[in-house]
């Protein structure tokens, strides 16, 4: 526990300092809140509209988590298939990269045209932005197997599936998690884009609404919630990663 606090201490101190400077600047230069509200103002505003904000937050979090889970599953499956099917990786990998060059802001209206206004186009969008970093990270992990371990297993009679399950897959886990961390951040921005472009709830919708009413303080409240959500998801993934990679030697004090 003491370890964790020491680990979280420095960034928290820096964050606190930045907020202090921000608030100080707002007071000192007497900035109007529709230009740049201070942290105190933002928190106060968020508090007064609390219940409504919580509803939007919950909607966003739900969508992000479901989308992220589906995207992670898709990414891992794609990586496993490209790795296991001979020739698939060489044939499909370039197309995979190409698919990432379509901006989400262009993609989402198309998805709405094809899939309607409901949950489905949003989920598809999040899966599309999530699966790529996961698939790429896991693919490179799968191909990094130690040839000495692979030769050893083959010599004692392990088949291709066995080598995948007991060597390549566990070896890919650390790589997979770096992909998952990136994808988690992507999934939340993906949800925001989807909610901004076509939804009647969620933080993305709330921010858009606040903009059109020039309620800058609420925009900032929305952004703060996005940051908080991202941090929580990131923290959860790091915790799971630590459990999965507990076999790795950890450097002291890091």
């Amino acid at each position: 526990m003491g370890d964790k606090l020491r680990f979280a201490g420095p960034p928290l101190a820096v964050l606190f300092l930045l907020l202090l400077i921000w608030q100080g600047a707002v007071w000192l230069f007497e900035l109007e809140s529709w230009k740049l509200p201070g942290p105190v103002e933002i928190v106060r505003e968020a508090w007064t509209i609390g219940p409504r904000l919580m509803e939007h937050t919950w909607a966003t979090a739900q969508l992000a988590i479901i989308g992220f889970a589906a995207g992670a599953a898709t990414g891992m499956l794609v990586a496993a298939l490209l790795h296991l099917i001979p020739g698939a990786r060489a044939a499909l990998y370039p197309l995979l990269v190409l698919s990432q060059n379509i901006p989400t802001i262009v993609l989402y209206p198309l998805l709405m045209i094809w899939l309607g206004l409901g949950l489905l186009p949003k989920l598809v969008l999040i899966i599309l932005v999530c699966f790529f970093p996961i698939a790429v990270a896991m693919l490179s992990g799968l191909s990094q197997r130690d040839p000495r371990l692979a030769d050893y297993l083959a010599m004692i009679g392990a088949g291709k599936w066995r080598i995948f399950r007991d060597l390549e897959l566990p070896g890919a886990v650390p790589y997979l998690f770096s992909g998952l961390k990136i994808a988690a951040a992507y999934s939340i921005t993906g949800v925001i884009v989807a909610e901004w472009l076509g939804a009647s709830r969620g933080i993305g919708y709330f921010i858009k609404l606040s903009y059109s009413g020039f309620l800058v303080t609420r925009v900032f409240a929305g952004v703060a919630i996005i940051v908080l959500l991202s941090l929580i998801v990131f923290g959860i993934i790091v915790a799971i990663e630590r459990w999965f990679t507990r076999w790795q030697p950890r450097k002291e004090g890091k």
Binding site: M155, G157, W247
Partner: protein
């Protein structure tokens, strides 16, 4: 009774066209049931390649490999194998590494777990059952690697320079340790080594092989009675044999100097 291993006229080349490199030229190796045979030869002469052929990782260009009388050329999963580096999965505990190797060999997981629990204390690793490999020293890892080969229900054990990566002192301890375990269990073993002393201490028979293309140029029956004591090297006969093998190897310019301990 069939020999544990017969390698008959096995040849193997790598590459093609001008770059063809013939590594094995008609290898003949026999390991009888319960016999300990050592292969000694120059670096790069194809000893590991021979193991890869016996293990089915590569296919010979010609010749035949029989294990326990059955033709198994190009088939995998008939040998217990101890590679030069310990080859332990870093994400598995010591016990789980042993369980993995045994379950590939067809032992049920529960039985494998029971055996490793029973054996780990016997090889001086009590208390390390659920440690990860990186917390063990090189010598301890090699012991796990050896135990994994010993417990696999296969008639033939192939050891590829089992102690090559260890320092001289640890190596000496490991040789004596292997000697006592082997004499109590009498498995059929084919072992590659660079050390003449190691071969004399452990084996029933020593095969000296030439530089590539490798063939067996000399076969030596080691005359020392078993059980052997660890101070065998004080025996004058031991030193005569050592001298003779040393001359044989160096006349074929096959010995790397680093491999001989000065004693």
């Amino acid at each position: 009774m069939h020999p544990a291993l017969e390698v008959r006229g096995v040849t193997k080349s790598f590459g093609s066209g001008k770059k063809t490199l013939q590594v094995l030229g008609g290898m003949e190796v026999t390991v009888r049931e319960g016999e300990f045979v050592s292969l000694i030869g120059p670096s790069g002469s194809g000893k590991t390649t021979l193991f890869q052929l016996i293990g089915g990782l590569e296919k010979p260009d010609s010749g035949e490999i029989r294990i326990g009388g059955r033709a198994v050329t190009g088939e995998r999963g008939h040998i217990a194998y101890m590679p030069q580096q310990a080859a332990l999965m870093p994400w598995r505990t010591i016990t789980d590494n042993i369980v993995l190797a045994l379950s590939i060999a067809g032992v049920p997981a529960e039985e494998a777990r029971r055996q490793s629990m029973e054996w780990l204390p016997r090889i001086g690793l009590a208390g390390y059952e659920s440690s990860y490999p990186h917390t063990l020293s090189g010598g301890m890892q090699q012991r796990v690697s050896f135990l994994r080969a010993l417990l696999a229900p296969r008639d033939l054990m192939c050891l590829d320079e089992p102690f090559g990566a260890l320092d001289a002192l640890t190596r000496l301890q490991m040789q004596q340790w292997l000697l006592s375990i082997w004499e109590a269990n009498r498995r059929s073993v084919l072992m590659v080594t660079h050390s003449i002393e190691e071969a004399l201490l452990l084996s029933d028979r020593i095969l000296v092989i030439s530089a590539s293309p490798a063939t067996v140029i000399r076969e030596v029956e080691v005359p020392f009675a078993r059980p052997r004591s660890s101070d065998l090297w004080t025996d004058p006969q031991f030193n005569r044999w050592k001298q003779e093998l040393y001359e044989l190897l160096s006349s074929n310019s096959v010995l790397s100097v680093e491999d001989e301990r000065s004693s």
